[in-house]
C-alpha cells in the first residue's frame, strides 16, 4: 500500500550504516544509551548522570530535569512491548523520543538499523507519516473535525486524494467497530469510542509501528478491558510492532510480550511478565507486582492437571470407559476421536448404558462441555467451574491438553498468593 515507498526509503539507510549497526537490524527498533535532559544545559546533565549523580541531585545542583537516563532496549518486529512505570518515571518522554516529538539529548534510536536521531526535519516528517502511528492518553482528537475527518487527518497531510482518503478511513473505522459514526463529532462520543477513533486515526495510515501512550488509562475499567481485548484481536491480524505505555501492571501483563519497567528515567527491569513476577529485580518492581490480581496472571495451562486416561470414541464402549474411570478414580471421562476432544461420559450414564446393552458411547456422550484455551486467565475459569466441573483445556486443534477441576484452581491461586506475598 501507501507505506511501501517509505519503507524502502528507510531500508536504504540501513544498507549504508556501519557494521556495528547492521547487527542491530535483526531488531525492529534499537535504542542505545538514550538520554533526555530538560533545561538550558542538557549536556551538563548528561555528564553528571554519567558521573553517577542521581536525578534529584542534578535537579538541585543545576536545575536540569532528568527525563530519561541511559536507556537501552530493543523492540522486535510484531511484538507488543509494554513500557511501564509510575508517573514521572520517564515512560511518556521515552515514547515521544522514538518519533522525536521530544528531541533526545544524547543517544541513538535505530529503526531497522537507520538512526532516527540524525534525520533532518523533512526526513523526519516522512518517517512519521509512513512508519509511526500514535495513540494518545486523552485521545487528542481534533474537536472541530468529524470522526471520519479525524481519521483522514494523516492521509490529508500526505495529500492523498479525497476519494481514496475516505475509503481508507472507512476501512479503519470498520476495523475498530465504529462504522456508522463517521459524521459524528468527538464530543458526541463516549471515551471508549473516542479512543477507537484515535486508534482508527493511527491505523488508517497503515504504519508498521504503533506508539500507544497510556492509550487506555483514561477509560473506565470495563471499557479498558474491552479495548485491550480489541487491541489483541487486531494485533492477531495486523502484526504491528507496538510500543505501549502503561502504569497498570494488569494491563502490561495482559498486553505485553515483553515488559520494561522504568523508574526515575532508567530501566529497572526488562523481561516477560512471568519473569518479572517470579523475580522482581528490586523493591520498586516488587511493590508494583504485589498489587497484581493473581487470578489475572495465572492462566489455565499453569494450573491444569494431566488428563490421564481418555476414552476413545472409536474403540471404547461403556464397559471400557467405566473400567478406565475406575482405574483413574474419576466419576467422568473425556472422550477423544482421532485425537480431538468430542465430549464427556459420566460414570452413571455409562453403567445404565451397560445394563441396557449399548455397545458404543454415542448415546451417552455429553458434547456440551466447557473448553478453554491454555492462556485463559484464572478469573474467567471461576464461572465455568461453578456451572460444571471439570473444564477441558484444549489447544487449537481441539486436542485435550489438561483438565481443571475446582480443587486445582483454588489450590493454584492459594499457592500463587503465597509466592507473591513473599516477594514483598
Amino acid at each position: 500500500m501507501e507505506t511501501s515507498p517509505g519503507r524502502c526509503g528507510v531500508a536504504a539507510y540501513a544498507v549504508t550504516s556501519t557494521t556495528k549497526e547492521r547487527q542491530t537490524v535483526d531488531h525492529k527498533i534499537v535504542v542505545q544509551n538514550l538520554y533526555k535532559i530538560f533545561g538550558n544545559h542538557p549536556h551538563k546533565g548528561v555528564k553528571l548522570l554519567k558521573q553517577g549523580y542521581t536525578k534529584d541531585q542534578i535537579l538541585e545542583k543545576t536545575g536540569q530535569g532528568v527525563g530519561i537516563a541511559d536507556v537501552s532496549f530493543h523492540v522486535d518486529e510484531g511484538e507488543i512491548l509494554v513500557i511501564m512505570g509510575l508517573s514521572g518515571s520517564g515512560k511518556s518522554t521515552l515514547v515521544r523520543c522514538l518519533n522525536r516529538l521530544i528531541e533526545p539529548t544524547e543517544g541513538k534510536i535505530l529503526l531497522e538499523g537507520a538512526d532516527i536521531t540524525s534525520l533532518n526535519r523533512e526526513e523526519l516528517r516522512q518517517l512519521r507519516q509512513k512508519r509511526f502511528g500514535m495513540v494518545f492518553q486523552h485521545f487528542a482528537l481534533f474537536p472541530r473535525r468529524s470522526v471520519i475527518r479525524n481519521v483522514e487527518y494523516g492521509l490529508e497531510v500526505q495529500k492523498v486524494p479525497a476519494a481514496e482518503r475516505s475509503e481508507r478511513a472507512m476501512i479503519a473505522l470498520e476495523q475498530v467497530g465504529l462504522k456508522g459514526w463517521e459524521d459524528s463529532y468527538p464530543a458526541q462520543l463516549s471515551g471508549g469510542m473516542q479512543q477507537r477513533v484515535g486508534l482508527a486515526r493511527a491505523l488508517a495510515l497503515d504504519p508498521d509501528i504503533m506508539l500507544m501512550d497510556e492509550a487506555f488509562s483514561a477509560l473506565d475499567p470495563l471499557i479498558r478491558r474491552d479495548m485491550q481485548d480489541e487491541l489483541l484481536k487486531l494485533q492477531e491480524k495486523m502484526h504491528k510492532t507496538i510500543i505501549f505505555i502503561s502504569h497498570d501492571l494488569d494491563e502490561a501483563l495482559k498486553l505485553g510480550d515483553r515488559i520494561i519497567l522504568m523508574k526515575d528515567g532508567r530501566i529497572v527491569q526488562e523481561g516477560t511478565a512471568e519473569a518479572i513476577l517470579a523475580s522482581p529485580a528490586d523493591e520498586y518492581v516488587a511493590k508494583f507486582v504485589q498489587d497484581v490480581d493473581i487470578s489475572k496472571v495465572v492462566t489455565a495451562d499453569s494450573i491444569m492437571k494431566n488428563p490421564g486416561e481418555v476414552a476413545s470414541f472409536a474403540h471404547d464402549g461403556p464397559k471400557a470407559a467405566l473400567w478406565k474411570m475406575r482405574q483413574a478414580g474419576l466419576s467422568s471421562i473425556y472422550v477423544q476421536h482421532k485425537n480431538r476432544l468430542v465430549g464427556l461420559v459420566k460414570a452413571e450414564d455409562a453403567s445404565s448404558a451397560l445394563k441396557a446393552g449399548d455397545r458404543d458411547l454415542k448415546n451417552i456422550l455429553v458434547t456440551d462441555i466447557h473448553r478453554v484455551s491454555p492462556d485463559t486467565p484464572a478469573y474467567e475459569l471461576f464461572p465455568l467451574l461453578v456451572e460444571s466441573s471439570p473444564v477441558a483445556v484444549v489447544d487449537n486443534e481441539d486436542h485435550l491438553m489438561g483438565v481443571i477441576i475446582k480443587g486445582t484452581l483454588l489450590a493454584a491461586l492459594a499457592e500463587g498468593v503465597q509466592t507473591n506475598g513473599m516477594a514483598e
Binding site: N99, Q129, M134, Q137, R144, S146, G154
Partner: protein, 286 residues
C-alpha cells in the same frame, strides 16, 4: 546633590520628533500612497452606502443582522436602533463613522492577525511584541492623534492611522493566545502524523483558535469605534464630529443624541460579532 540637577535632559521627545520628521520628509511618498488608497477606499464605501435610501439600508442591515446572528433580539435591536438614528437625523454621520470603523478594523486585521500568529509560533517574537502591545494599550489614545497630523494631515486618513494603532493590540494578543491555548496533546497529534508547520497551522491551530480570534476582532471593533469618535478632533467626520461640534457650541441635546447613536452602533456591532464568534464554537466543521 548639586550634580543631580546637572544631568542633561534625556531627549526622548526630541528623538520622537526627529523620527516623525524624518519619516514624513523621506517617506512622504509612502504616506501619500497610503493616504490616497485609504481615502479613496473610504470615499467609495461611504458613497456606496449613501447610494441606498436610508430606509432600504436599514432593512438590508436588519436582514444582515438576522443572517449573521440568527437571533431575533439582535435583529430587532438593529431595526429599531437604526431607525432611531435615522429619525434623529444622524444617518449620514453614522454611515461615515461606520465606514471609518470598518476600514480601520480591516487594516488592523491585515496587520494584526499575522503578527499574532507570528508571536504565537515564535518565542523570540513573542518577547518583543508583547511589551510593545502593553505600551500601545496604556498610552493615552489622544497621543496617537498628534503624529497622525504631520504624517497624514487632518481628515479621515489620520483618524484611521491612530485608530488602527489604538485598536490593533487585542487582535494580536487574542490571536496569539488562541493559538497558544491549543492543547499540547493535539499539537503533538498533528506533529506525530508528520504535518508541516503550515498544515498544523491551517488544519489545527487556526480553526481551534477561531473563537478567541473572533473575540479579539470584536474588541478591535469596539476600540476602533471609540477611537474614531475621539479622532473627530483631527477632522474625522461622523458621529464623533457631531459630539465635537456639540462640545464647541455647548449643546447637550445634540451631544447626547450623537452619543446615543454611537451606543446603538456599538451594541449592534458587538451583538452581531458575539454571535458570529459564538457560533464558531459549535460543532460546525472547519
Amino acid at each position: 546633590m548639586e550634580w543631580l540637577n546637572n544631568i542633561p535632559r534625556i531627549p526622548i521627545g526630541d528623538a520622537i520628533d526627529y523620527a516623525i520628521t524624518l519619516f514624513s520628509d523621506n517617506f512622504s511618498f509612502l504616506t501619500k500612497a497610503f493616504s490616497d488608497v485609504v481615502e479613496s477606499g473610504i470615499a467609495i464605501l461611504i458613497e456606496g452606502l449613501m447610494f441606498f435610501p436610508p430606509l432600504v439600508l436599514i432593512l438590508i442591515f436588519t436582514a444582515l443582522a438576522w443572517f449573521l446572528s440568527r437571533k431575533r433580539s439582535v435583529m430587532l435591536l438593529t431595526l429599531i436602533g437604526l431607525f432611531l438614528i435615522w429619525n434623529m437625523n444622524l444617518w449620514d454621520p453614522m454611515l461615515s463613522t461606520l465606514a471609518l470603523v470598518l476600514v480601520s478594523t480591516v487594516i488592523a486585521m491585515i496587520i494584526g492577525l499575522p503578527l499574532g500568529i507570528f508571536a504565537a509560533l515564535n518565542q523570540r517574537a513573542y518577547r518583543v511584541i508583547m511589551p510593545i502591545l502593553d505600551v500601545m494599550q496604556t498610552m493615552p489614545a489622544f497621543v496617537y492623534l498628534i503624529p497622525a497630523i504631520p504624517l497624514f494631515g487632518l481628515g479621515p486618513v489620520g483618524a484611521i492611522f491612530s485608530t488602527v494603532i489604538f485598536s490593533m493590540p487585542p487582535a494580536i494578543r487574542l490571536t496569539c493566545l488562541g493559538i497558544r491555548q491549543v492543547p499540547i496533546e493535539l499539537v503533538e497529534a498533528a506533529d506525530s502524523f508528520g504535518s508541516t508547520r503550515r498544515q498544523k497551522l491551517i488544519k489545527l491551530q487556526l480553526p481551534m483558535a477561531t473563537p478567541t480570534i473572533m473575540a479579539g476582532i470584536n474588541q478591535t471593533i469596539m476600540l476602533a469605534l471609540s477611537m474614531v469618535v475621539i479622532a473627530a478632533m483631527i477632522g474625522a467626520k461622523g458621529l464623533g464630529g457631531e459630539v465635537w461640534k456639540a462640545i464647541q457650541r455647548l449643546e447637550p441635546s445634540r451631544g447626547f443624541e450623537a452619543g446615543i447613536a454611537i451606543v446603538i452602533v456599538a451594541m449592534i456591532l458587538d451583538r452581531i460579532m458575539q454571535r458570529v464568534g459564538g457560533k464558531q464554537t459549535g460543532a460546525t466543521s472547519q
